[in-house]
Symmetry: C2
Subunit: 401 residues, 2 copies
């Protein structure tokens, strides 16, 4: 078996944790498996490097920032290889140049284009464990790039796909994917399996167990992921195309507090207005989340959307400046809202899901401000401070007893 | 003009010093010159990385250590490029992979084999300053290598040779090459020029202004070096094939306290014995410095040599083990000795130099324990504690008034 294992920065934050990971990886190696380990930078290294860069240049070149940040993972992999040697396991560390991890040219936010498996296979053939730098690649200019935060998950998936690995294990500080955040919903339980699509909806909605791009890539290349704890031997959650167990109606409840609502009131009901609004925001890299358009009345309509809280002032100012062009009567916004969502394959096929969710929220006396749905998700917007209570109520309705 | 400038770790130890170097490099760039800057790792970074490695593996793989250490220079160059951007100067940082600095495969002690100038020239053509990682290369396995301590000097010279640079400036914390170490000989003065060979003798003898290999390489490729201070605008010392000024009898006095003497007493006066002794030591990487062989008497002779103090116990133990094979009656050694040397083109052509040196030492009441000479150097061994006094006496005799 060829197994790709990914460990994040907190798992390799110091000497003791590096040895803990090394011993963990040894087990599969000693069973005769080929093991490829993907690592992030140690602990807070990336943050410290960014801070150092900003002290020298408040707005550092993204190319140079990637050059700087890439050193973090290179330290991790070299030290891990040394730890494995201490334990008697032969290994080699490899960086993005050595593996030839080709990405797009976008510094700071690159995407994998092509990964060469030759060097890794050569090392595995020599019965060496291979330790690869996560988060980084090289572009067509032969420059280092980084994949954006959480990119090491994507590195692991991309390597698993390129090497046709038999397993891709993502180690985290939680035991797997839960039906809800256990800090909010104490009765949450760990899922045995979840589909890529459900995982994507959960990740987008604030269950930050896996980096979104890594799930998209796993789906694209059919890489089965296992999310499990680096601290114990529990089985974790399998993420794959279709779950084997009979599909649950709902697999998870997600809460996202980092949200604000913007309403563009009284725009003319003619083609192209919505396009103009979201084109304006897109040009400024303001990522809009849920979009809702009211049914037209008096020849006007209202367009509402949610957006990350940090972006709301900029978005509103931009829309105010372009009020005439987008034919808006006024712009309103609310920062104190939160999203509660249910995610699961049963949403589309069971019209009763939405009603059941709304009932559960109504029963605990919470008002729903906005509703949006996808094939496998229903999201409601509630006032800030009520989201946890709403989540517990919904979790109880769908996922308990 | 194309100018290569090299700055050591202490010159880029913190934000302030990085900006100081950036401003220094800007001057030549703004005059319209092409500027390539070679940097070492910041301050004590390399030592800290080695310490971290040793805490994980007391005897880390040299390959993995090079992988780890190479991150140090990569941080320096990225931060320097950011500092230059802050000052409005366009630049790009490049590492060993990007430049394609090919070396021999010896991890930790690699030598340059071939440097590709193409990428650097491309950046210079775009009127960008180029900041290159010193100290590191890549070998035929596509692995990172390091050149050994002080290797950034060699990187600068190798780049100057590959790019046919018009000047190669090595910036240090001293103003140039002195006739003696000013801490020992207060009357020492800065030399305007010195030949490669004289510089090599001085470096070997403990005047650590330039890394030896860098001088050897400069000599081989005819690269004229300038050693100057990063702290002021003084002209520094030019190191080249032949000095323009009429050759001084003696250009410098050097002191080396890190030395010990070993004597192999009463070996048979037959061919091959000296070979055996130094072959034994060479196999264990014990570097012998001066070698002296007494004239045979009663069919035996004595062979003495000097060696770094840290190596003396190992060398003596090795010789004791092989006493029979090398036909030695006994092995003696002394750790408390020091070397004092005079270096200059006039040594060979002026037989009086040796006599003058011995007289100066005799006049201050110091006993000479051993004498060795080369074409441009005379070295005497004295008891530890007397070397500074001897150096001052010799400096006065040759280099004052």
């Amino acid at each position: 078996m060829l197994i790709v294992k990914k460990f994040g920065g907190s798992s390799v934050a110091d000497k003791e944790r590096i040895f803990h990971v090394a011993k963990r990886c040894m087990e599969d190696y000693q069973k005769g498996h080929d093991v490829v380990v993907v690592l992030s930078a140690m602990g807070k290294t990336t943050d410290q490097l960014i801070e150092m860069a900003k002290s020298i240049n408040p707005n550092p070149s993204k190319r140079e920032l990637d050059m700087l940040l890439a050193t973090g993972e290179q330290c991790s992999v070299a030290l891990m290889s040394m730890a494995l040697a201490t334990l008697g396991v032969p290994s080699k560390s490899l960086n993005a140049f050595q593996v030839a991890m080709h990405t797009s040219s976008a510094y700071g936010n690159a995407r994998f284009k092509r990964i060469d498996g030759e060097r890794i296979r050569h090392e595995l053939d020599g019965r060496r464990m291979v330790i690869v730098t996560g988060f980084q690649g090289i572009n067509k200019y032969d420059d280092l790039t980084t994949l954006g935060r959480g990119g090491s998950d994507t590195t692991a998936v991309a390597l698993a796909a390129a090497l046709h690995a038999d397993a891709c294990e993502i180690y985290t500080d939680v035991e797997g994917v839960y039906t809800a955040d256990p800090r909010i919903v104490p009765t949450a339980r760990k899922l045995k399996e979840i589909t890529y699509d459900e995982m994507l909806e959960l990740a987008t909605l604030g269950a930050k167990v896996l980096h979104n791009r890594s799930v998209e890539m796993a789906k694209k290349y059919g890489v089965t992921l296992v999310v499990r704890s680096s601290l114990n031997q529990e089985e974790g959650t399998v993420v794959k195309e279709e779950t084997d167990v009979e599909s649950m109606l709902i697999n998870g409840v997600a809460v996202d507090k980092n949200t604000a609502r913007v309403a563009v009131i009284g725009v003319k009901d003619k083609p192209g207005i919505a396009f103009k609004i979201f084109h304006l925001l897109g040009k400024k890299n303001l990522n809009v989340d849920l979009i809702l358009q009211s049914i037209g009345r008096d020849g006007t309509k209202d367009i509402s959307f949610t957006i990350a809280r940090d972006d709301v002032e900029e978005a509103v100012a931009l829309l105010e400046q372009n009020k005439a062009a987008i034919t808006a009567q006024r712009i309103e916004y609310e920062k104190s809202v939160a999203k509660v969502s249910v995610v699961g394959g049963g949403v589309q096929s069971n019209p009763g899901v939405a009603a059941k969710m709304f009932e559960a929220i109504y029963n605990v006396g919470i008002n729903i401000r906005m509703i949006a749905t996808s094939e496998i998700r229903i999201t409601v917007l509630v006032d800030e401070g009520e989201e946890d209570k709403a989540a517990r109520a919904v979790h109880e309705a769908f996922l308990e007893n």
